[in-house]
Amino acid sequence: MASILPQAKSAAVNPLKSSQPLGAAFAFLGVDGAIPLFHGSQGCTSFALVLFVRHFKEAVPLQTTAMDELATILGGADHLEEAILNLKTRTKPKLIGVCTTALVETRGEDFASDIASIKRDRAKELAGTEIMLAKTPDFDGAIEEGWAKAVTAMIEGITRPGEQVRQASKVAVLPGWNLTVADIEHLREVVESFGLQPVVLPDVSGSLDGMVPDRWVPTTYGGTSVKDIRELGTAAHCIAIGEHMRCPAEALQRLTGVPYMLSQSLIGLQAVDRLISFLSMISGAAVPVTVRRRRAQLQDALLDGHFHFGGKKIAIAAEPDQLYQLATFFVGMGAEIAAAVTTAETSRILETIPAESVQVGDLGDLEALAAGTDLIVTHSHGRQAAARLGIPLMRVGFPIFDRLGSQHKLTILYQGTRDLLFEAANLFQATQHAPKPETLDPFRNRDMPDDASSLLARS
């Protein structure tokens, strides 16, 4: 069991986190015809927008209530109303996802009642547009929390409540934020191969996959439809991926009675086996040949790849669920997690991470802990630390702004595990050091093996 070390520094050095409202906006971007709206000053939106664009290389719809000095003093309800009405007139969205920021949350207004009265007073003008609220101050949480709050808000606000007639083959899938476009496309195909009909919420594979439409669209195009969110209660089962999706899955169960299965990770042979067995069980169908083939390929990759992982020291900085998923993957390959840094201390997954300790902190902490490791695993901002330490960097998560195609990289199920394994093994091989007489000289090397004490402890 890992011990969780809280942050003790006053100056964060090279932040690991992206903000909570960005996470909420990210989830709203997975809905068709949607536009997220930050309730804050224009900079809050501008920074998040630029970061999204750097990562996705796509036009990203994101707007602001443009809080100025006066509104900050007098209250922002008027700005919120004006922004919602302007968006409705100009872009005709099916959904506006309001994400609050630190500025308005520090002021502390009753946003839910503001929105309720806007919806009541402007019912006619706003017909056909869902207005959602995610309370996401920047001084709390990061992407995980924001994403989960937005999905919960959509289930609580749009999904028709009450026990409904269930469609036996329909499965609600609630992916965590760190699944890529390729992951969701692949997951859908695998679920379908059992004769099931998945409804994915949010579905960034429809909206952030790089389509070239034949007209200019001011909202998202593609993603989960509002109608599908409304009908989510007719699913027979729900699959949530990542501990942070427990809250939205529970909301769905509470409101509609749809039971959920939570998969904390879809990386690694055993984790994927569990999901595949579940799909086979609920569908009553045998595991299809293609899936069996992918599993066999992963077995072979484990055999071929494990040579490169044994004894390797890995430094990972990621949000809690992704940290857990990657750490269990590397440990499952025979490597050791020498440094684990994460964004928040509240997640229940943290203590199950296979590392001695997990530091809540930033990339400055990672840089201090990663000296002497074989691989750094984090997002693109880790590039400076990796360069200074001379350790290869495997880019995961968000943002990845200095490599193309991160959205089309497969990272889950048998095939994604295989790809991750190859990527890491290739990074190890690319940085292999040639043997030199001086490094092998037995008279120079009198150190005990690094893990001698732990070997002794184990025996």
């Binding site: 100056a11 090279n14 224009q42 922004a83 630190a102 001084f139 439409p213």
Partner: protein, 496 residues
Amino acid sequence: MSLPSAKLQQVFNEPACQKNQGKDANARKQGCSKPLTPGAAAGGCAFDGAKIALQPITDVAHLIHAPLACEGNSWDNRGAASSGSTLWRTSFTTDLSELDIVMGQGERKLFKAIREIKQAYAPPAIFVYATCVTALIGDDIDAVCKRATEKFGLPVVSINAPGFVGSKNLGNKLAGEALLDHVIGTAEPDDVGPYDINIIGEFNLSGEFWLVKPLLDRLGIRVRACIPGDARYLDIACAHRARITMVVCSTALIGLARKLEKRWDIPFFEGSFYGITATSQALRKIADQLVSQGAHPELVDRTEALIAQEEAIAWEKLAAYRRRLEGKRVLINTGGVKSWSLVDALMEIGIEIVGTSVKKSTVEDKERITQILMEEDQIFESLAPPELYAMLSQDKVDIMLSGGRTQFVALKAKTPWLDINQERHHPYAGYDGMVELVRQIDLAIHNPIWCQVREPAPWDSHPVSADGPTSTTSASTTGRACEKIACSTAYAAGQG
């Protein structure tokens, strides 16, 4: 709130800004940032502007006093280059938590953060940036910085431009004020000379000032301070000993230049290093002004000789592109000084300017554009994405030059696009920079992908027969002609 409105009034009243002087007293009080429309706004906040203006100062530790987003979502995102310290690329923030805010621990955390940075990095100075939340909760950043300066014996400068006070442009101005109030004039150089100049508003993006600096070096002109591109703290502290100032990006930091003149008698002029003629004009003006400030008059002749030599080489390099680019239609959608300064060189090699945006351009900028282009209808204020998309997809433009914000309008309309704003990866300043820009335009327009992406899939334009796809060389349904040479090459490569 901590920002005195007197400061705002002061920066809004800018005698050196022609636009500002055209207003009556009342309008001037309103300031130059237009009120934003909630739900239809674009662009950064005042904090963003302040950080952009100061962060390229390379050896300073820039500490953002804020909850996560202000810094966490925005760091390491600009391509200014440094010839020395890389400390400016290390991000520092107090990352305030809910507890910090509720318990009122902001000031204490800030003070401790300053101490940690001083101990671990020993920078020559620390800049502390206020933000919306820390201004709202009333943290007295000025007092903390003052105390830290005394306690730690290094300059700790407060940059008071929280996001909600206004636009990016206002933030630029407030950053200039902070330099005037706390930095410039705080150190004395021991090597003052008659050829010392300041360059203000040059950001050294992609290192492009290094395309210009050797020209100045050749003339024996020393850049005392380039603000902020590739600057050291000490350079800026000594900026009051330069003889003249050239302002490069006029809207952002002109107030700084005017106050350098007022306070230390350093005359300034506005110029640009984008474009051949503009670069020559700038060099000429620098020489003239230095001479009028006491430099030896022979500087003028040496400058003319250098200009003649470098212009000849640049025009010769550019001439090679005439055959490939003559008649190509360019849309410049950026505003400011680039709306005109790039135009003459492009026109010289036969490129047609179908339009240029005068958003953010000064009165003087606009006059120059009108003189060069002759036709008013090529000049526009700004285009909304749907209109821009329509213009681009109707084959009225061969390439758009703009900033990242409109990148995807062009790309989704399958139109060549080149980044000429802050996120670009190529240096475009000076004579060689203009040649590089033209080279990049050529590469973009003639890339073989255009005819591939514009053609519909064969099964959409022709029924697929049992013998396989029919020829794709027939007329394109998009109505756009592809470059024949590029297309056949690409097609052959695809077949081969």
